[in-house]
Each structure stands twice: as structure tokens, then as C-alpha cells.
Symmetry: C2
């Protein structure tokens, strides 16, 4: 056995240098474990893209070596790529009851073959040669989250998953501090730590704080109360239900994904829903305003969400009435700030009171801040530390925190997706790189939209397109029809006849120049048209539409 064979390979396939599409591979000899398989929502410049998933070429190449995919929790950025991944590699899934319940529901929409689900409880140990896998409880913003410790022949690899050290979480399920201490005491070889809030000082507030705020607010409201939060934030929805119950109100859940999540969580025993408190949307009108709470999706101002449709008077069952109070129990995900603000404005315009300010305490994060991260690092004291789940600045801040606690800089790896960290008994190094990156999903297409298509979409979005059709006689080379000019997204054509007329003149000029020079290569003619016309349009309008000459021979 060569030296390299006795090393562990850590291969982050997503979630480093980005928020989302979390995925990590751990390899020892011919055995691979995968932790999570998340998706990411596209950044603005990925025009027309629906979702982004990790590049799993490495996993496909090593299909037969993969023992399992281990899931930390049921959020989209940890399980959302599963439908695509399982299409390529059908391996068993391990996770908590709720996590797998949510995944099962999700996979129904995709026509996949039978999937091998293994429900795991905290502190349960799964043996998948040569690994012993130990799941442990952590708290976050969805119930039934777990971190994972993988006992390998070289030592323990510990992944925190998404984590916060909530001392009074919604369901009372506190982080398993004693297990972390025990693992730390045994000696952890490599630790992966959630970096999402590594640039936030102090502690993240407890979910309990939101409960207290709800108590205050519900007590004051005389009209209907509408609370919006993430559809997956079951703790938060539970708190809405609990507080509503205390004030003698019924609760209607509005928005498909929230309805599904509540149904599954409730069926699986993760919620405490008093008998008869839930009512159907259609029945809201049967109750007086002070008897109703509506819990709804749309906390990110998503255009098709329930709250946005309510705000634009476009919802079938719910419309804003004067006296309504809307509580935005969420923070905008970076990039969504304007959408959320727009929704708040619309709700105010409809006559609602809207509670959206950060300072009010209607939302807390699900991720650990700096003081919590320090506690985790000090509990575990890993030999090697790999910050994960975060943009580059978050990873850097987390790395610096670790360094400030005495972990040597050379033992901290601020890595990139696809980089292979080889860990031996005595040292760890970055050794090579596997394919990793963004696979773009657009409609049914997975990976068929790349830079050229995106560049074209960008240009089209900015200044539109002008299409020039010229019909040429095959034998004589003479123009027999056209140039016909059609534009879209460039200028309002009905008011720009003169501009279009002059554009046609410019194309004719270009064609005449080619004809005089006896140029007949289409490529040359097209480029001549593009140049002449492009220059003219820029001078006239200051815009650079895409110019698309089409030559037809008859």
C-alpha cells in the first residue's frame, strides 16, 4: 500500500466561497462518503437560470465507491440537489426522520427509481466499512438537525452541519455539547465548521426571543395578524401556533410549501398543534379579525409567493384589510433586500401595519456568531480546521477566529470547491483538484446553458436585438429582397420610423461596399453590416443592441 493510499481525502464539492449548494466528499482508499447535496439560488447575473447545483463529475467517475449520502438537515441548500444527484448515482441516504420525510416529499415530483432511506437518530452509530458514522444533535432553524462525526482509520472527521448554540431552542433540542466534548477529548483530526455568521460578533439570539416578541405583538393587535417566515422554519411556525393558541386565535397556513412542511412535520411528530386550531384558507372569512392568524410564505418577496400575491391583491383567499398587522419574521437573504422592501411598501399601501425592522426582534438567525464559533472550536480543538458554508470573507473570518484561539495557521485550510485536502497522520496538504463548479439548471436543461448563452442574454437584456435579413440571388449574388429590419428590446419601433429607415440605408451602404469590392463571403458581408450599423446606432442612440445579420439565398 502506497503512502497516498493511507491518506484521507477531503473534497469539498460545494459551499466554499458561496452560500449554498453545500456538498462534501470524504474518501479513504476506495470508500467515499458524501455529506449533503444542496442547491443554490442563482445570482442576478445568471439570467434565466432557475437553480444551481454542484458539479458531481468526481462522484460519477467514482460511483461504485460511494457508500452513502449523509444529510445534516432538510434545507434546500443541503438537500436540494438530491433529485439531480440521485439520477446519476443511486446510493443510500442517511438522515433524521424529518430530514428524510422532507426529502421524500421533494423526490416525489421527480421520477426516480426506489431510493434507499435510512432514518438515523442522534447518537446512533452507522457502520459503513471502513467508517463508523456518528450523528449528533445540533440546533438550527429547522427541527431535527444533526452534525456528523466520521470515525476513520486515521481519526475523527467532524462536520458541524448548520449550527447555532441556541440554549433555549424552539423544540428544546439543545446542541449535544457533551458529545462534542467527548469527541474533542478523543481527538478530532479534521473539523468542518459552519461559517455563515463568522463575521457577526457576539452571540446569535435564541429562538425564544422571537416567542417573547410574538407574545408582545399578539397581545397588542386587535385586527388580523399575518406572519411570514421561511416555509421550512417549523420552529417559527410552531411559535406562531403556540402564541395564537394563547390568545384564542385560529391559524390558517397559506402557501403550498409551508402547508406541506407543516403537514409532514406534524405527521412525524415535530409539532404541537392544539386540536382544531388550524383552519382552511377558505374559512378565514368565517372568523372575526381578532380571531385569526395567517402564517404564510413570501418572506423573501418572491414574486409568486402567497404574501406577494396578497400584497398585490392577487390572492384568491386573502386580501389585506385595514387593521391587519403583518409581521415579517425573516431577514432578507442577500440579494432579496429590494424585493422584500417592495412587498413591505405594497402592504403599507394596502393599509396594513407592517413590522419589519430588525430591532423589533421578530427574527433570529439559525447560524452561530463569533462567540459561539469560539466555543465550538474550543470544545473540539481539531488538529486541522476547514471552515465551510460561507462566502470567502466568512471562511477567512472563521479561519482567523480559529487562529486567534491557537490553532496554527498551517493547520487551517481556507479551501476552494474541488480542491483535494489530503490528510495523513502527520500532515495535511492541498493535493490537486477535481472538477467542481456551478452546474446551471434552466427549465429541463441541466448544464446546457454556459457562458456564451449567458453573455448573449446579458447583451439582449441591456440593449435588445436588431435582426437584418437580406435575400440574395444564388447565381448573380444580387440582393433580391430586403434588407428587412426587425428589432426587439431596442427602441419603441412605432415612434422610431426614421431611425429604422436610416438603419436600412446603413445596411444598404455596407452591402454596396461589399458589392463594389466583389466581396461575396457571407462572413465578411455580415461583419461589414454589423460594424456599419452598430456604429451608426451607437452614434444615434448611445446603445449597442446585438446585431444579427441573416443572409438567405434563393
Amino acid at each position: 500500500m502506497s503512502d497516498a493510499d493511507s491518506r484521507l481525502k477531503i473534497i469539498p464539492l460545494g459551499g466554499l466561497g458561496e452560500i449554498g449548494k453545500n456538498m462534501m466528499a470524504i474518501r479513504y482508499q476506495d470508500s467515499i462518503l458524501v455529506i449533503d447535496a444542496g442547491l443554490m439560488f442563482p445570482e442576478e447575473e445568471l439570467l434565466g437560470i432557475d437553480i444551481v447545483i454542484p458539479d458531481i463529475s468526481y462522484l460519477i467517475e467514482n460511483k461504485d465507491k460511494i457508500k452513502a449520502i449523509l444529510l445534516t438537515h432538510g434545507h434546500e441548500d443541503h438537500v436540494g440537489a438530491l433529485p439531480y444527484v440521485l439520477k446519476e448515482i443511486n446510493v443510500p441516504l442517511y438522515g433524521s426522520k424529518l430530514t428524510l420525510g422532507l426529502v421524500e416529499e421533494k423526490l416525489k415530483e421527480h421520477n426516480l427509481g426506489p431510493i434507499n432511506f435510512h432514518v438515523v437518530r442522534p447518537r446512533e452509530i452507522i457502520k459503513l466499512e471502513p467508517f463508523d458514522i456518528e450523528f449528533f444533535r445540533v440546533s438550527h432553524s429547522i427541527p431535527d438537525c444533526m452534525g456528523i462525526a466520521v470515525h476513520t482509520p486515521l481519526g475523527i472527521i467532524l462536520h458541524t452541519g448548520d449550527i447555532k448554540l441556541d440554549q433555549t431552542p424552539g423544540d428544546g433540542e439543545v446542541v449535544d455539547f457533551r458529545k462534542l466534548a467527548e469527541l474533542g477529548e478523543k481527538g478530532v483530526l479534521v473539523m468542518f465548521g459552519d461559517s455563515t455568521n463568522a463575521d457577526k460578533s457576539g452571540f446569535t439570539m435564541s429562538e425564544k426571543v422571537v416567542g417573547n416578541t410574538f407574545d408582545d405583538l399578539f397581545g397588542k393587535c386587535e385586527g388580523r395578524i399575518i406572519v411570514t417566515t421561511f416555509a421550512s422554519n417549523v420552529h417559527r411556525i410552531q411559535q406562531v401556533i403556540t402564541t395564537a393558541h394563547r390568545f384564542g386565535r385560529k391559524v390558517a397556513i397559506v402557501g403550498r410549501s409551508m402547508v406541506n412542511n407543516v403537514r409532514i412535520s406534524n405527521q412525524l411528530g415535530y409539532m404541537n398543534v392544539p386540536e382544531g386550531i388550524l383552519i382552511e384558507m377558505a374559512d378565514i372569512g368565517k372568523y372575526s379579525a381578532n380571531q385569526v392568524v395567517i402564517a404564510t410564505t413570501g418572506s423573501q418577496g418572491e414574486p409568486m409567493s402567497a404574501l406577494t400575491r396578497i400584497a398585490t391583491s392577487d390572492h384568491r383567499w386573502v386580501s389585506i384589510e385595514p387593521g391587519d398587522t403583518v409581521i415579517i419574521s425573516a431577514t432578507p437573504i442577500p440579494g432579496n433586500e429590494k424585493l422584500v422592501a417592495k412587498t413591505v411598501d405594497l402592504l403599507f399601501r394596502q393599509g396594513a401595519e407592517v413590522i419589519y425592522e430588525k430591532s423589533v426582534g421578530v427574527h433570529v438567525s439559525g447560524h452561530a456568531s463569533q462567540e459561539e464559533l469560539k466555543i465550538l472550536l474550543n470544545l473540539i480543538r481539531p488538529r486541522y480546521f476547514v471552515p465551510v458554508h460561507g462566502e470567502y470573507r466568512h471562511l477567512m473570518k472563521h479561519a482567523k477566529l480559529a487562529e486567534s484561539l491557537g490553532i496554527p495557521r498551517s493547520n487551517i485550510f481556507v479551501a476552494e470547491n474541488g480542491q483535494v485536502i489530503e490528510v495523513g497522520k502527520k500532515k495535511a496538504v492541498i493535493a490537486g483538484k477535481v472538477a467542481a463548479g456551478k452546474i446551471l439548471v434552466d427549465g429541463l436543461g441541466v448544464g446546457d446553458v454556459g457562458n456564451i448563452v449567458l453573455r448573449d442574454r446579458k447583451q439582449l437584456s441591456q440593449d435588445g436585438i436588431m435582426i437584418v435579413v437580406v435575400t440574395i440571388n444564388k447565381e448573380s449574388g444580387e440582393v433580391v429582397a430586403g434588407p428587412d429590419i426587425v428589432s426587439r428590446g431596442f427602441v419603441y419601433v412605432r415612434e422610431s420610423e426614421e431611425l429604422m429607415e436610416r438603419a436600412r440605408d446603413k445596411v444598404n451602404e455596407a452591402l454596396q461596399i461589399c458589392s463594389k469590392k466583389n466581396v461575396s463571403e457571407w462572413a465578411v458581408i455580415k461583419s461589414q453590416v454589423r460594424e456599419k450599423l452598430g456604429k451608426h446606432l451607437y452614434e444615434r442612440t448611445g446603445r449597442r443592441p446585438m446585431i444579427l445579420p441573416i443572409i438567405v439565398e434563393v
Copy 2:
């Protein structure tokens, strides 16, 4: 004289329900005053649009009645529309020395005729029959800001301009509290109040706080220091220079707009620049790292800005060196969060230490928070109150603040742009509406891009375009060439030959159906092609590109 003639008309033309393009008209009989003429940067969905300016149809219709445009300060959202407005109505401009200095520089780029500039000092009174106009000092995030009190035959109209109650501002120019008190004591009929921070509790921190933070940070840095802020934040740039001087460092200003602003402010006496402290970009290399501070544009992550080019190693004179500290002395304007975060990540990747967290105190806002707004309202106690400068939620919050201080709800107007508020001696009502809205500037075109063009750009940006060219014999109606299919922004064509082939088949099917039914109307044929092909492409790809059939007759 009719009763209506003896009323004041207040007509907000911009800045209500939005942040930006601030503009207000005040009319008494046949005399109009305009306060500010700002631009707005386009929201994301205004694809390809460069800037947005107010609709000034009302002013153009009443050109001869306009006495002047009064300017509160030199920010783009208050003076940026002037080049477009002055093209239509050439009236005198009144403002402070710095405001007019900046405006003059700006107007140079546009070929306007001679402009009538009137420099006004605080507490100066300008008589423009029937108005006496009194400017007064306020503090904000650019020097030489003023609020405006217009003495009209019916009473005083007071506009705060952009304002914060900074007790220790950068230049020592404190808000003229005594003038505000005097006006309040006399009795203010209508007050317009800056609402930008009306949803922020407490007080806005003083500019002095940033100076203290700079002192701390500069003292600790051993390498180069790069500070980015708004190009117009002359106070902030002054503090960079002052602190640099204290630590024996030279300062290079990088970024055209900042260089211009510093030059003008310095020439006009608004800065205190120690002899020899400013160095040219090209000379940065002549100094050791601990002797240099760079002040630069790019605090919003703007793609073409100096800092972004530095972060992408694309700047001619400056590149990041290990040991550099970058201070982001600004907050992202809503909508720019992702761009700023991306720049921070790039700088970290280049090896810089980046200080960007809100909690550090490297930036303060230029707008008054709730406690300051209350002081202003209590100093002035206007009869009627119109919150201005803010999205709808800010106006609402400001209105509620005023109400909480005892101003009757019926005397508070949360108005829309274009609404005419008629103010008489005894009452004020909203009476009618003039044209107001967004005029879109795209390249050289002002107002020639509307909903149709934007809708097309949106569709093009999401799924691209497929162009179908069919050539038909004029006499026989037979297809003599094509269908030729060209797509852009839809799918990577080289890898989609089969898809394109099938698309051609679908078009042929559509043409055959038309031919069989003896349909020869182009509109019908085109719609048939669109429908057949559109359905097919959606089934195959889940996308809906724009389909553009072009029929050529020969």
C-alpha cells in the same frame, strides 16, 4: 380672484414612494418655485436603463411661470436631473457655493446654453415675487447643505432638505437650530421632512465617530491603507486626509469622480489639505507601504469603479499587496449588497485585510433617525406635514412619528408624486394630479424606452430568442428558402443540433398546416409558427424563448 387662486399648490414631482429623483414644485398663482432636480439609479427590472429622471411635463407646460430652481445640496439624487431639466426650461439656479460648483462641473459635459447661477449663503434671503426665500444651514453627508424656508403670502413652507442633526459634523457646520426655532415660533404652514431613516430608531451617529475609528485603525495598520467611500462624501475624504496626516502618510485619490470632487471642494475652500500630502496615483510605488493611504471610489461595488478594478487586478496603478488593509467606509445602497460583498471577497482573495462590518464604526448615515426627526418636528410644529424623500414605508413611519407628537392625522399628507396638495389658510386637501413618473434614460434616448421594450428585454434575458426566416415566392406562395433558424441566448447551439433540427421540422409542420388550409395571411402563419414551435420548445427544454418569425417575399 377665485378662492382656488389664493391657495398654495404643493406638487411633489419625485422622491415620494422612492429613494431618489427628488423634486418639488411650489406654486402660488402664476409663480412657481422648484426645489431640487434629482435623478435615481434604475432598479434591477429596468433592464438596460442608465438613469431615471422625473417627468417634468407640468413644468414644461408652465415654463414661463417658473422663477427658479432652488438646490439643497450637490448629491445626484438632488441635482442629477438638471442637465435634462435645463434643456427644457432654462431658469436660474440658486444654491450654496459648493453645490453650484459641483453642478457647474456636471453641466460641462452636456452642451447647454449659458446658465444663471446664484450663489446663496445660509440665512441669506432671496426675493422672488411673491416669495421670500430663506436658506438655512443643515448637516448631511456632503458639505454646504441647506434647508429652505419659503415665505409665501399664505405662510411659511419649510423644506429640511437631506438632514441629520450631527452635533459634531466634519466641518463644524451644525444645523441652524436657532433659525429653525425662529421659523417654528413664527409659525410654519407646511413642512417637508427627510424620511430616509424614519424607520431607524434612536440617533444617527456623528461623523466624528468615523474619525475616531480611523484613528484606531490607522494606528494599527503597518501596510498600506485603502479607504473607499462615496465620491461626494467630502467630509469622509477630509477625515482620511486628516488622519493620514497625523500618522505621517501621503494620500492618493483614485477614481475620476472623487478626484474631481476633491479638486472642486478644495478650490472652493471646503477642505483642509496639508501642503504636499496629496500624491499622484502613478507615484504610489515611490513610497513604502506604511507611508501611503489610498482614498478611492467603488464603495458600492460598481463594476467599472476603481476599487472593483483594483480587486480584480485590472487597475493600471494600484494592485493589492499582502499587508494592505481595505476599509469600506460606506453602507451598501439597497440593491448593491451582493456587488459590495463580491468586492470584499475579491479583496480578501487578493490577500488584503478588509474591514467592512457595520459594527466597526467606519461609516455613519447622513440622514436623521427617529429621535432627531422628533426634535425637528417639535422645533418646527408645522400646521401641515408632508414626509418626503423615502419609500412608502419611510413616509408612513415618518407620518406616524408626527402623529405621535400630536400633529393631527388629517394634517399629515402621505402623498404620491404628482398629487397636488392645495393649501389654503384654513385647510389643505389633495386636489387633482399632474403627470409624474419615471422617465427612463437609456444611452442618448430620454423617454423612448417604455413597457414594451422592457418586457421584450425581460423575455430575451430569461430565455433568449429564436428567429425563424421563411422565404416565400410572391406569386405562388411557395416556400423557396428556409425555414432558417437562428437562436441567441436560448441554448448552446453547437451541442443542440438535434434540437434545432426538430425545431425546423415543427416550423415546416406549421407551414404545411397553413398551406393545406389555404391560409396566406402572414399574421396567421406567424402565429401558427409561434404556437407550434413554442409548445415544442417548452416541452423539450422547459424554456420559453421569444419566437420571431420573419417572412420574406421574393
